[in-house]
């Protein structure tokens, strides 16, 4: 696997310790793909992603939320996601309120993603996953467990000591196969990056999911546009809104973020004008 000569000392040790968990992640590709498919189906139904994590994973919960709401790859649509771990005045010093926050904010179509890197604090995350499941939400747990025995990679989550009992706590349990919490965290980062990418593939591939979001036609809907689209402003409306002429008809968009006039061509992403390209007809 490693094309480099193993180095001695702590660095060589660090590299060696990462090889088996990284390989095990690749062997879990099917599980990750299956979770992403369900995730995409929930987004398509109008669901939102609610994330939460224990101590070290609180930052990862925030990372997942920003990943989905503000994709790093230009042109990917924003998907609704929020982290319950970043709002410290609401959760305070204790994450025990995850479940309560989730019951308050969660809806049956939503998705709950709980991240556990620290089995000592896993209880709060498991409580929140249980609350999510009771609401009818899709539940995904990123947890950690013992490394696989041998090289078969066949040990499923059910056979693992998975994050203090998460193995049956979620519809999808994705296990970082390392008992080193730092390495488990690294595997989680790759896992949620892959989930994000695959969710977009499923959302953009009409054959892989059953239906389009309500109110959208493939050729018109600016909300669902994957790329920023140039449109012509035909009328300004109160409240930072405007009517825009598209190739396929007129749509209402927001121009709150730009100084647009009637006649301007603006670049629209997710129904929001993000740049003025120029006043074509003035």
């Amino acid at each position: 696997m490693n094309q480099h000569a193993p180095a001695a000392g702590p660095l060589g040790h660090a590299a060696a310790a990462r090889t088996a968990p990284g390989t095990a992640l690749a062997q879990d590709a099917q599980r990750i793909t299956a979770a992403a498919r369900d995730l995409a189906a929930r987004f398509r139904r109008g669901g939102r992603l609610l994330t939460f994590g224990d101590g070290p994973a609180a930052a990862d919960a925030g990372h997942v939320a920003v990943e989905f709401t503000h994709p790093v790859i230009v042109g990917k649509r924003a998907l609704p996601a929020l982290s319950l771990s970043t709002d410290t005045p609401s959760t305070g010093a204790s994450p025990t309120l995850f479940a309560a926050r989730l019951r308050l904010l969660g809806r049956p179509d939503d998705i709950a993603m709980g991240i556990l890197t620290d089995a000592r604090r896993g209880g709060e995350v498991l409580d929140a996953l249980a609350a999510a499941r009771a609401l009818g939400m899709l539940t995904i747990a990123l947890t950690s467990g013992e490394p696989p025995q041998g090289d078969s990679g066949s040990g499923g989550p059910d056979e693992l000591v998975a994050g203090g009992g998460a193995s049956s706590a979620a519809d999808h349990v994705l296990v970082a196969r390392s008992d080193d919490p730092l390495i488990a965290r690294e595997i989680h980062v790759t896992t949620y990056h892959l989930l994000w990418e695959l969710a977009h593939v499923f959302l953009e591939s009409p054959d892989s999911l059953e239906s389009n979001p309500p109110g959208c036609r493939d050729d018109v809907c600016l909300t669902c546009a994957d790329a920023a689209t140039p449109v012509h402003i035909t009328e300004l409306r109160p409240g930072g809104l405007a009517l825009a002429a598209t190739d396929a008809g007129t749509e209402e968009i927001s121009v709150a973020l730009v100084q647009a006039q009637v006649g301007d061509v603006v670049l629209v992403h997710a129904k929001e004008a993000i740049a003025v390209l120029g006043g074509e007809s003035r």
């Binding site: 590709a29 990943e67 919490p181």
Partner: protein, 235 residues
């Protein structure tokens, strides 16, 4: 729009096998990049850890900063250094990780709780970030905090995937003016952070994928923390 992510996909041709194969390839690429980073950047990480250990020994404080996903990495860096606690199953009741006598067993290779070191993230305070961005400019959100909080001998850890974020670069410039040890994480060739030599210790992840860069940076700063703890142990 999936073209550059999944060039093999044609409309209506998405199969589970193709997606699984591509996922295997990406996970494997992530592992290989991590191993390459440990191999190629290892000596520089060790040298940086020695500099950080010296700074901490002399009473220095670490400040971590970045944007977006990298802001959460900044929080992770600050959490790891300031709790000394990688997480894991040992040390119940010692979440602060402040004790040298903590049980070090059962947490794998991270070695369990280590001494806590003064470290802060500059990305967590919405009052400060919104005040600076609204009243001045977003480019100064880190530089202004460092100008107020930083002292000579402190440590600045800048995280960026492009190496080109203006506010991150201005943070490094301010840190250097103050006389801090500057550490930069970047990717994609290193951007301006590399071109303008803005960090004493610069780690450029050899990838053009934002995701793979972040994944390898996570490994790099985890190992940097371990090497720093080992360097502190050695005197």
């Amino acid at each position: 729009m999936t073209g550059h992510l999944y060039p093999f996909l044609r409309p209506g041709a998405t199969t589970d096998e193709e997606l699984t194969r591509s996922t295997v390839a990406k996970a494997t690429e992530s592992l290989h990049l991590r191993l390459r980073v440990l191999n190629d950047l290892g000596p520089a990480l060790t040298a940086c850890a020695d500099a950080l250990a010296t700074a901490f020994r002399n009473g220095g404080t670490l400040f971590a900063f970045g944007n977006g996903g990298s802001s959460t990495d900044a929080q992770s860096v600050a959490h790891l250094f300031s709790t000394g606690d990688p997480g894991g199953a040992s040390n119940p009741g010692n979440p602060g990780g402040t004790s040298n006598t903590a049980d070090k067993g059962g947490t794998g290779d991270s070695g369990g709780a280590q001494p806590a070191l003064p470290a802060l993230s500059l990305t967590g305070d919405a009052a400060l970030l919104t005040a600076l961005a609204n009243d001045v400019d977003f480019d100064v959100v880190f530089a202004r905090q460092l100008a107020a909080l930083g002292r000579p001998g402190d440590i600045a850890v800048a995280l960026s995937t492009s190496g080109g974020s203006a506010n991150v670069l201005r943070g490094l410039e301010q840190a250097r003016r103050t006389g801090m040890v500057t550490v930069g994480f970047a990717g994609s060739g290193g951007g301006r952070m590399a071109e303008e030599n803005l960090a004493d210790h610069l780690f450029v992840i050899p990838s053009s994928s934002v995701h793979r860069i972040q994944e390898a940076q996570t490994t790099a700063y985890h190992v940097l923390w371990q090497l720093t703890q080992q360097a502190l142990d050695q005197r």
